[in-house]
């Protein structure tokens, strides 16, 4: 029982609120993905993701399903790892270490965004966009535009989260380099940015599975 005088959850206010924000964000993404699942369950046919997502840059017309998206997945996992390491360095007040790992995290985020930009451009060139779906169902029958609508909406919303995550990390990097957190005496702000960044990785785990794998 909490008797007052100390923080009941043993975390600072900002971090607690970040958790609650992320929980609400999880419901937003969850609603998107469940809407996608419901539509898919309500439709007779669906395009085969291995026929749609089968290219990588400079690969030409090669049939290579899952290759490019697994690269994107690993980029995001590794950038999540460098973020944990930045938080870890923050615990020991190591300014240089935090800056180093933040730079790596930002680079990972930018790499992911570039991959996504390429994929969107490629799909757009194939004729796919909101309201346009050139890919037939796996049995060759006419598909609905729901497929592309959900794909671009959900990966777009996730990409926007990655983009804002990169911005947050850049702001964190500037604050680290200027010594703001050293003066403050703690690197708790990095932990909050880290929570957001891990959440972006977490959402990709679900998006990756729902769109590309199953």
């Amino acid at each position: 029982m909490w008797k007052g005088g100390r923080s009941p959850f043993n975390v600072e206010y900002g971090k607690l609120m970040m958790w609650y924000f992320l929980m609400s964000d999880a419901f937003t993404f969850g609603a998107f993905l469940i809407a996608y699942g419901t539509t898919r369950f309500a439709t007779n046919g669906w395009p085969n993701p291995n026929e749609v997502f089968r290219s990588y840059p400079l690969g030409g017309n090669v049939h290579a399903p899952l290759i490019f998206v697994s690269l994107m997945t690993f980029i995001l996992i590794i950038s999540s790892v460098t973020m944990v390491l930045a938080v870890h360095e923050g615990h020991s007040m190591n300014r240089k270490g935090v800056a180093k790992y933040l730079v790596l995290t930002i680079l990972g985020g930018l790499a992911f965004l570039s991959c996504q930009a390429w994929e969107w451009t490629h799909l757009h060139n194939e004729g796919a966009w909101w309201g346009r779906n050139p890919f037939p169902n796996s049995d060759g029958s006419i598909s609905t535009t729901n497929f592309t609508n959900f794909f671009f909406t959900i990966t777009g919303f996730h990409g926007f989260h990655v983009f804002s995550g990169v911005l947050i990390n850049i702001i964190m990097l500037i604050m680290v380099l200027r010594g703001t957190f050293d003066r403050r005496g703690h690197y708790l702000m990095i932990e909050k940015a880290g929570l957001y960044w891990h959440f972006v990785d977490l959402v990709w785990v679900f998006v990756f599975t729902c769109f590309y794998l199953i």
């Binding site: 959850f9 043993n10 975390v11 929980m23 419901t38 390491l85 870890h88 703690h186 690197y187 977490l202």
Partner: protein, 138 residues
């Protein structure tokens, strides 16, 4: 006892440190590779039941990855129990969301196939082929 931010920052070191980070990294990578292997396996499987089974296994690995990211990278496993509960308990709403909405979508499909005379035939029509580079589907 006054709880300053500094003391909070000092207290939040619970957890396995760098060793734990590398352990979780390896677990996440291995799970992703298994998922991908199952995804490749799925391409050659035609049997509906087998496909559903493989998809179920992929989803289990997805949830396991989510557990490791939230528990270790986001550090939730090392927080106070009450905090964990305020985050995790509301998420159980998803169990109902998923069951309710997906079964609703499924029954919509079945009803439509049964009662809308043309629906099933229409959804079997082949998609017209397009020449490479001439995508006019507006």
């Amino acid at each position: 006892m006054d709880h300053t931010l500094e003391s909070l920052a000092a207290e939040q070191h619970a957890g396995g440190g760098k060793k734990e980070i590398w352990r979780v990294t390896i677990i996440l990578s291995v799970f992703t590779i298994i998922e991908l292997a199952l995804g490749f396996l799925l391409m050659s499987v035609v049997n509906d039941l087998a496909r559903h089974f493989i998809k179920g296994v992929i989803i289990i690995f997805m949830l396991a990855k989510a557990f490791y990211i939230v528990g270790y990278f986001m550090h939730l496993k090392h927080e106070i129990r009450n905090l964990i509960m305020t985050i995790v308990v509301p998420l159980f709403l998803f169990v109902w969301f998923i069951i309710a909405f997906l079964s609703d979508g499924n029954s919509f499909k079945n009803n439509k196939n049964e009662w809308d005379r043309n629906h099933k035939e229409r959804s079997k029509e082949p998609m017209p082929k397009h020449e490479e580079g001439t995508h006019t589907l507006e």
